[in-house]
C-alpha cells in the first residue's frame, strides 16, 4: 500500500506534463499550415477570439479567416477525435482485458463505413438542398447498428462469462459490413474515390459545425468512461474475482462499451477511419505511467488529443499545398514510434 502511494506521487507529474504537451501540440498545430498568418502572429490572433481582447496583429483579414475558419476547426477536431479514440481504446482494452483491442473492435468502423457508402451511393447530389449533410448521420447510425448486432449476437451465444464471443462477433459483423460495402462499391465504381477519401480521414474538411456535432457525444462518453476508471482497475483481476469483490461485471462492461462506442461512432462519422490511435496512445500511456486505469484514462484523453493534432501536421505540409490523408500519417508515424518506445522500454527492463 505504501509502495503504491510512493509510486503514485512519483508519477503524479505526468498529468501536468501531459497538459503542457497538449498545449504545445495545440499551439504548434495552429501555427503550421500552407496559408494563414505568419506563425509568430498566431498566438495573438487566437487571443483576439477571447472576449474583451483586441490586439492588432498585422495579419490580413484573409489570413485571419484561414486561421479561424479553416485551420482551427481542424486542430480542435483532431484533438477531440484523438482523445475520444484513445480513451475508447483504453477502455475497450480494459473491459476485454486484451491489449490488442481497438475502438473499432465491435464493428463501429465497418458499420460506419457501410453507412457512409450507402449514402454516397444513394447520391448526395439529391441532398444538396438539405440543411445538414446526411453523410455523418448515416455513418453514425451505421456504426451504432453494427455494434448493436455484435452485442446481441455475442449475448445470444455467449452465455458464458467469456468476452471472447463478443470479440469474435465483432470480427464477424465487421467482415459482413465490409463485404456489403465492397459489393456496393463494385456495383457503383463511380463513387470509389469518394468512399476512399472518407475512409482515409476527413480532417482536411473540418468545420466548426463538425466540432459542434460531435462535442456533446464526446463529452458525455468521456465523462462516463472517466467515471468508471476505478471499476476498470477492479476488472483487471478477472471477471470472477471482480464479481466476488462486489463489482457487477456485466453491467460495468455494458456501460463502458456503450459509452466508448457512442463516442467512437460520433467521431468516426465526421473524421472517417483513423487507425492506430486507439491502440498506440493507450499503450504509450501504460509504458510511461503504469497500468492503473485511474491514471491511464485521464492521460489518454490529454495525450490522444496531442498525438492526433501533431499527426495531422505532416498531412498539411508534407506535400504542401496538397494533402496527405491523416489515416496514412497516423499509421506511418505511429507504428515506428511505437516500436521504438516498446524496444527502449524493454531494454530498460521495468
Amino acid at each position: 500500500m505504501l509502495a503504491e502511494q510512493v509510486r503514485d506521487s512519483e508519477r503524479s507529474w505526468w498529468v501536468p506534463a501531459a497538459c503542457i504537451m497538449l498545449a504545445v501540440a495545440f499551439l504548434f498545430g495552429a501555427m503550421v499550415g500552407p496559408a494563414g498568418p505568419a506563425w509568430w502572429r498566431v498566438p495573438a490572433e487566437l487571443l483576439n477570439h477571447l472576449p474583451f481582447i483586441h490586439i492588432k496583429t498585422g495579419a490580413t483579414e484573409l489570413q485571419s479567416t484561414v486561421l479561424w475558419q479553416i485551420r482551427m476547426p481542424r486542430v480542435v477536431l483532431a484533438g477531440i477525435v484523438g482523445s475520444m479514440l484513445s480513451i475508447a481504446g483504453a477502455s475497450y482494452q480494459g473491459v476485454f482485458r486484451n491489449p490488442l483491442v481497438d475502438p473499432y473492435l465491435l464493428g463501429v468502423a465497418g458499420g460506419a463505413g457501410l453507412g457512409a457508402t450507402v449514402i454516397i451511393v444513394a447520391g448526395r447530389a439529391s441532398s444538396s438542398s438539405w440543411p445538414v449533410d446526411p453523410l455523418p448521420i448515416a455513418a453514425f447510425v451505421g456504426g451504432l447498428i453494427a455494434v448493436m448486432i455484435t452485442y446481441s449476437v455475442g449475448a445470444a451465444f455467449g452465455a458464458a462469462k467469456s468476452s471472447a464471443t463478443l470479440v469474435l462477433a465483432g470480427v464477424a459483423v465487421t467482415s459482413l459490413a465490409t463485404a456489403i460495402q465492397t459489393f456496393m462499391l463494385q456495383r457503383n465504381t463511380d463513387v470509389v474515390r469518394q468512399v476512399y477519401s472518407w475512409i482515409l480521414g476527413r480532417l482536411s474538411t473540418a468545420t466548426w459545425h463538425d466540432v459542434r456535432l460531435v462535442l456533446p457525444y464526446v463529452v458525455v462518453s468521456t465523462g462516463v468512461l472517466l467515471w468508471h476508471r476505478r471499476l476498470l482497475d477492479v476488472l483487471r483481476v478477472g471477471d470472477d474475482e471482480a464479481q466476488s469483490l462486489g463489482a457487477r461485471v456485466d453491467r460495468i462492461r455494458l456501460t463502458v462499451v456503450i459509452a466508448a462506442t457512442l463516442g467512437t461512432a460520433a467521431v468516426v462519422s465526421v473524421s472517417g477511419l483513423i487507425g492506430f490511435v486507439g491502440i498506440v496512445v493507450p499503450h504509450l500511456v501504460r509504458l510511461l505511467a503504469g497500468s492503473s486505469y485511474r491514471r491511464i484514462l485521464p492521460l489518454t484523453v490529454l495525450l490522444g488529443a496531442a498525438f492526433l493534432i501533431v499527426a495531422d501536421i505532416p498531412g498539411r505540409i508534407l506535400s504542401d499545398p496538397a494533402e496527405t490523408p491523416i489515416g496514412v500519417v497516423t499509421a506511418f508515424l505511429g507504428a515506428p514510434f511505437f516500436i521504438i518506445v516498446l524496444r527502449s522500454r524493454q531494454g530498460a527492463s521495468r
Partner: protein, 318 residues
C-alpha cells in the same frame, strides 16, 4: 486470326477489388497507383496505335462498349447499330439505354461479356487484364485509356472509327470538333493577365493540375491552374482548404455536381469561402461531371462551358 487483334497491354495495376478489401496501407497504394495515370496511359496509347480491323473479314457487328466515353463516340460516328451492350456507367446518348447492361467496367465479368457473343469489346482502362482473358477465348478487344492531350483524344476517335468501319464519319466528327473548339477559343479575347482557376473533383478538394487532359482544356484559354503549385508526383492532388482560400482563384469550376451535390450556394457556405472573389462576383461554374471527365464528342460542350465561365468572369471585371 482474331487473337492477334488483341492489344498486348499488360495490366500494371492491381485489381480494384483486392485493394478495396485491403488495409489502409493498401488503400494508399491504390492512391499511389492513381498517381501513375500519366505514365500508364502514355505507354498504352503508344503501343496501341496501329490496329487492324479485319474482324471476320468485315467490320465488327456485335460491339460491347465498357467505357462511357467510347459509347458516346460509337454513337456519334454512326456505329450505334453495331453496339449490342454497354457498361453500367454508359449513360449517354439516350439511344444507348436500350443496350445498357449492369456489366461493370472496373470489375468486368468475362463470362457475362462472352455470353453477349461480341466480336469486339471496347475497353477504356484495362484494370484487370480483361483483354488478355478475352483473347484467350478468341474475342477481339480494343483498349484505349484516357488521353493526355486534345490531339490524342481526336486520334482515339479516328482510331475507333477505323476499327469499327466508320472511318469517314469519325474523321467528320473530329474535324467538326476541331472547328467548333477553334471557333469557341477564337471568339474569346483572353485577358492580358492569366485568369486563375480551381477545378474541383469532389468535396474533399481533390483537383487536377494543368498537366492533365482536363487541364489542357483550360490551357486553350491560357488560364492558370492554382494546383500547379503542387510539387507532388500526382496530377490529381488533394488540395488543402487553406491553400485554395489563400489563392483566391478567379473562377471556380465544380465538376462534383452529380457526385457530391456541389452548388454555387453550398460552396459559398463553406467556412472561409464566402469572401472569395469568385464567390462574391458570381464566378462559380457548375459543370456536368460526365461532360467534364469524358473525351468524346461532348468535349465541345465542355470547352463551351469553360468559355462561358471565362467570358462571365471578364464581364464581371467590367
Amino acid at each position: 486470326m482474331k487473337a492477334n487483334l488483341v492489344s498486348a497491354i499488360k495490366p500494371t495495376r492491381e485489381p480494384t477489388r483486392r485493394v478495396l478489401i485491403g488495409s489502409l496501407i493498401a488503400l494508399t497504394s491504390l492512391l499511389a497507383a492513381c498517381g501513375n495515370d500519366k505514365t500508364d496511359s502514355t505507354a498504352s496509347v503508344a503501343t496501341e496505335a496501329p490496329m487492324s480491323t479485319d474482324v471476320a473479314g468485315g467490320s465488327p457487328q456485335r460491339i460491347v462498349s465498357l467505357s462511357p466515353t467510347h459509347t458516346e463516340i460509337l454513337y456519334a460516328i454512326g456505329a450505334g447499330d453495331q453496339v449490342v451492350a454497354v457498361d453500367s456507367m454508359s449513360n449517354y446518348p439516350a439511344e444507348s439505354a436500350a443496350v445498357l447492361t449492369d456489366i461493370s467496367a472496373y470489375e468486368p465479368n468475362v463470362e457475362a461479356i462472352s455470353a453477349l457473343e461480341p466480336d469486339l469489346v471496347v475497353i477504356g482502362d484495362d484494370f484487370s487484364g480483361l483483354a488478355e482473358q478475352l483473347s484467350a477465348i478468341g474475342i477481339a478487344s480494343w483498349v484505349s485509356p484516357a488521353p493526355l492531350t486534345l490531339d490524342e483524344a481526336f486520334q482515339q476517335i479516328d482510331d475507333l472509327g477505323q476499327v469499327v468501319g466508320h472511318a469517314d464519319e469519325a474523321a467528320n466528327v473530329t474535324q467538326k470538333m476541331k472547328d467548333d473548339i477553334a471557333g469557341i477559343v477564337s471568339d474569346i479575347e483572353a485577358p492580358a493577365t492569366p485568369v486563375t482557376y480551381y477545378h474541383e473533383l469532389d468535396d474533399t478538394y481533390y483537383s487536377i493540375t494543368g498537366n492533365t487532359f482536363i487541364g489542357s482544356i483550360y490551357e486553350l484559354f491560357g488560364m492558370r491552374n492554382i494546383a500547379n503549385a503542387t510539387e507532388g508526383d500526382t496530377d490529381y492532388p488533394q488540395l488543402s482548404a487553406e491553400f485554395i482560400v489563400s489563392q483566391d482563384p478567379n473562377i471556380i469550376f465544380l465538376a462534383d455536381v452529380n457526385c457530391c451535390g456541389a452548388t454555387a450556394e453550398n460552396v459559398a457556405a463553406r467556412p472561409g469561402w464566402s469572401d472569395l472573389s469568385a464567390v462574391v462576383s458570381g464566378n462559380v461554374v457548375a459543370l456536368d461531371d460526365d461532360v467534364a471527365s469524358r473525351w468524346g464528342p461532348r468535349l465541345v460542350d465542355y470547352v463551351q462551358a469553360v468559355a462561358d465561365g471565362l467570358s462571365t468572369f471578364v464581364k464581371s471585371q467590367g
